[in-house]
C-alpha cells in the first residue's frame, strides 16, 4: 500500500501535529501511516478522506494483487 498523505498534507499546509489533532490521533500514528508502516483503520481513513476532501482510494493506493 502506498499513501499520498504527506503530499496532501503539504498541499493543505498542515503539519503532522495539526493533522493528528484534527484526526484525534497521535502524531506518531500519522507519522507511521505516512511512512507506510501502519495501515490505518477504516475510521481514521474516513476522517482523513473528509479532511483532505479526497476519496479513500485516492489517499491510500493499493496494488491490484493486494486487492485480489
Amino acid at each position: 500500500m502506498k499513501t499520498r498523505l504527506k503530499e496532501l498534507r503539504a498541499r493543505d499546509g498542515l503539519n503532522q501535529t495539526e493533522l493528528a489533532k484534527r484526526t484525534k490521533v497521535s502524531r506518531q500514528t500519522i507519522s507511521l501511516i505516512e511512512r507506510e508502516e501502519l495501515m490505518p483503520s477504516l475510521l481514521i481513513a474516513m476522517k482523513l478522506s473528509r479532511i483532505f476532501n479526497e476519496p479513500i482510494d485516492q489517499i491510500f493506493i493499493f496494488k491490484e494483487e493486494e486487492l485480489v
Binding site: N15, Q16, T17, E18, K21, V25, S26, R27, Q28, T29, I30, S31, L32, I33, E37, L38, P40, S41, I44
Partner: protein, 226 residues
C-alpha cells in the same frame, strides 16, 4: 539444515563452556566488596535519578513554548524521544536503588546506609509517578488518566490510539520473547554456579521458574480469552 547445524554447534559449544565452568570451581562472594558496591551502585542510581529529573524539567519547559509548522512536529518528536529516554533512565535508577538496598540488607550494613538506600528507593520510585503528569503536559488536548486513578495502566492503554498500540505491541512482543530467553539463561547460569561454587542457588532458580510460569500463563490466558 542450516539452522540445525547452528543449533548443533551452539549445543556443543554450550556443553564445553558449562563443562569448563563446572571444572573451575569458582565462587563470587559479595560480602568482600559489598561496601564499595553499595556506594558505586547507589551513586549510579542517584546520578540517573538526577538525569531523569533534569529531563522531566526540559520536557516541561519545552512543552510550554508556542510553535507552528515543522517546528511543532520537531518539538513533538523531541518530546516523544526525551520522554522515553527519561522513562528508561528513571527505571534503571529504580532497579539500581533496589539492588543497592538489597545488598545493604543482605550484607547487614550499618543503619545509616540502610536509611540512605531506603530513601533512594523511595525517591526514585516516587519519580516514576511524575510520568502521568508529564504526559498531560505534553499532550494537554488528550483525555489521559490521572496517576491516582484506579486501574491507571488499563485506562492509559485504552486512551492510546492504533499507532501507539502498534508500536507498543512490537516492543512488548520482542521484550516478552527476550525475557523468556534471558530468564532461562539465568536459570542455567545459576545452576552452573550452584554446582561449581557448592552454594545452592535453588531458591533463586525456583523464583525465576515461578516468574516464567506466571508471565507465560498470564500471556496465554490474555490472548486465549479474547
Amino acid at each position: 539444515m542450516k539452522s540445525f547445524a547452528k543449533f548443533f554447534i551452539g549445543a556443543v559449544f554450550g556443553f564445553f563452556m558449562i563443562y569448563a565452568f563446572l571444572a573451575l570451581e569458582f565462587e563470587v562472594t559479595m560480602f568482600d566488596i559489598a561496601y564499595e558496591l553499595i556506594w558505586i551502585l547507589g551513586a549510579i542510581s542517584l546520578i540517573l535519578l538526577v538525569l531523569s529529573l533534569v529531563g522531566m524539567l526540559q520536557i516541561k519547559r519545552k512543552a510550554s513554548s508556542p510553535l507552528e509548522g515543522e517546528e511543532e512536529d520537531d518539538r513533538d518528536k523531541w518530546q516523544y524521544k526525551k520522554f522515553n529516554d527519561v522513562s528508561l533512565v528513571g527505571n534503571i535508577s529504580i532497579i539500581f536503588s533496589i539492588i543497592t538496598l538489597s545488598i545493604v540488607i543482605v550484607t547487614k550494613q550499618e543503619l545509616f546506609l540502610i536509611i540512605c538506600a531506603l530513601i533512594l528507593v523511595l525517591i526514585s520510585g516516587a519519580s516514576s509517578f511524575v510520568s502521568p503528569y508529564l504526559l498531560k503536559v505534553m499532550y494537554p488536548e488528550r483525555d489521559l488518566p490521572e496517576a491516582s486513578d484506579k486501574d491507571y495502566t488499563k485506562k492509559l492503554l485504552a486512551s492510546s490510539d492504533e499507532g501507539e498500540r502498534h508500536v507498543m505491541l512490537e516492543g512488548l512482543y520482542y521484550t516478552f520473547n527476550s525475557t523468556n530467553i534471558l530468564l532461562v539463561g539465568a536459570m542455567i547460569i545459576l545452576t552452573v554456579y550452584s554446582v561449581s561454587s557448592e552454594q545452592s542457588q535453588l531458591f533463586a532458580i525456583f523464583i525465576i521458574g515461578l516468574i516464567l510460569l506466571t508471565i507465560n500463563t498470564q500471556y496465554i490466558l490474555q490472548i486465549r480469552n479474547k
